[in-house]
């Protein structure tokens, strides 16, 4: 009997260890640090975690854009958010989903390099350095009527 229980326990542990790990979703945090900026671009160091390296790099790029959009990045040339929180509407949700899913945001990424990569429990922790052409990004948002032009 004891042997049977032992087999069952071993089997259960085996099943648990072989099950597919939960896929890590995107989470926006403030782990975006401005390294340098000029009058057009800004370079950020971003920390993220994903279930794969490609997931993590994608999340890092989304996170850097989202911080620019909704929070602003200290010590950068965009310290205040591009989009102020008091004017949030649902009408742009679809636009930003498309903006990221269709890779439109890549038009404004001038450089993106993984600087460090560590795997722990199948999770990929990365530090990525991303340079964004903020002037072109702002112009794009103005053209799409996501934000207003200066003074309008």
């Amino acid at each position: 009997m004891k042997l049977l229980i032992g087999y069952i326990l071993i089997f259960a542990l085996g099943v648990m260890s072989c099950s597919t790990p939960t896929k890590l979703g995107y989470e926006r945090t403030g782990e975006v640090r401005c390294i340098s900026h000029d009058n057009r671009t800004a370079t950020f160091d971003v920390n993220t975690v994903g279930s794969s390296l490609s997931d993590a790099t994608f999340y890092a790029e989304v996170k850097s854009f989202e911080n620019l959009l909704y929070k602003g990045v200290p010590d950068s040339n965009q310290e205040i958010p591009l989009i102020s929180s008091d004017k949030r509407t649902e009408s742009t949700d679809a636009y930003f989903v498309e903006f990221f899913n269709d890779g439109i945001y890549r038009q404004f990424v001038t450089a993106s390099d993984v600087r460090s990569h560590r795997v722990s429990d199948n999770n990929h922790f990365i530090n990525q350095r991303i340079t964004i052409d903020i002037t072109a990004f702002r112009k794009h948002l103005e053209d799409q009527q996501i934000i207003r032009k200066f003074g309008q």
């Binding site: 009058n39 965009q78 008091d86 509407t89 742009t92 949700d93 207003r148 032009k149 200066f150």
Partner: protein
């Protein structure tokens, strides 16, 4: 390609967080096209100092002004050129050397600028290298209210090329400077400009604020307050104080632009109030100084 919005359960968290954070600002319906604010960049001058002499004698300031103007150009905003405006006003014989003290106000008033930006640049010399400090301050030309202030320092270099240092300093802060102006301007557009309105009774007049006026027999003070309520932008006003012969509204909001998209003129606000007083059988005079309107009932 990775997606942030799919129906795959594993992507739910990702989808959710993006959707939440994407609840953004944004212009909903297209509005009538509004005119951009007009902006003029001028050097900071001390009392009695002429704008022209400061501009012409200080190369550092000229570089700083040009770089700040470049920043506005990048955002698609045209600026009024100070030198051209100085020439124009000079041709109009408005600016004489003996009017130095008033010159800045004159140039600003005659320029038609909505916003003016004052730029001050100073050299810092030290044994560990030279740097420059740049002070940029923007004001509402209408009320003198400050919009945005930034102090930018260039890194220290062993160089005498101060123009390069000033470019460095401007570039480090110009975007944030413009962003703050833009934010303040958006707030003005949304909530209106502030006008200070004083309504008084001329000494010796037969009227006072307790006089009954109009067909309803309302007190004059109540009638004026009702008018301000109806005519203030978004009905927003605040009374600082009332005496028997004076009412001071320290905040009366007026729109930034009129229905045609032109700058709302404070004189038209005063004129409308005078017409209303006239309809009550009261003659009045008005004085306008910046954003201060004084109406005196005769």
């Amino acid at each position: 390609m990775k997606t942030i919005c799919t129906l795959v359960p594993g992507c739910y968290l990702m989808t959710f967080s993006i959707l939440v954070s994407a609840q953004t600002e944004v212009t909903t319906a297209p509005e009538a096209k509004t005119l951009q604010p007009t902006i003029m960049v001028i050097p900071f001058t001390r009392e009695g100092q002429s704008l022209r002499s400061k501009y012409e004698s200080d190369e550092l300031v000229r570089v700083a002004i040009t770089k700040v103007k470049e920043g506005f150009d990048t955002r698609g905003v045209n600026t009024i050129d100070l030198r051209a405006k100085l020439k124009q006003t000079s041709n109009n014989e408005v600016l004489q050397e003996d009017q130095k003290s008033d010159m800045k106000d004159e140039v600003i008033a005659l320029s038609g600028a909505d916003i003016y930006v004052e730029v001050e640049a100073n050299k810092n010399l030290s044994s560990s290298g030279n740097s420059v400090t740049l002070i940029m301050t923007s004001f509402d030309a209408f009320s003198g209210e400050s919009y945005s202030n930034k102090v930018a320092n260039s890194p220290k270099f062993y160089t005498d090329n101060y123009e390069k240092l000033i470019m460095n300093a401007v570039e480090s802060e110009i975007d944030n400077f413009l962003n703050t102006i833009n934010e303040k301007f958006a707030d003005l557009r949304e909530n209106g400009r502030t006008v200070v309105l004083s309504v008084g009774i001329l000494e010796g007049s037969v009227h006072d604020f307790d006089s009954e006026v109009g067909s309803s027999g309302a007190l004059l003070s109540d009638a004026i307050e009702d008018w301000v309520l109806e005519n203030a932008f978004k009905n927003y006003y605040h009374i600082q104080g009332t005496t028997s012969n004076k009412i001071i509204f320290d905040i009366v909001k007026v729109p930034l632009k009129d229905a045609r998209g032109n700058n709302y003129r404070i004189s038209s606000f005063a004129a409308t109030l005078r017409s209303y007083l006239d309809s009550l059988g009261l003659k009045s005079e008005r004085t306008i100084n910046g954003n201060n309107v004084t109406i005196t009932i005769l």
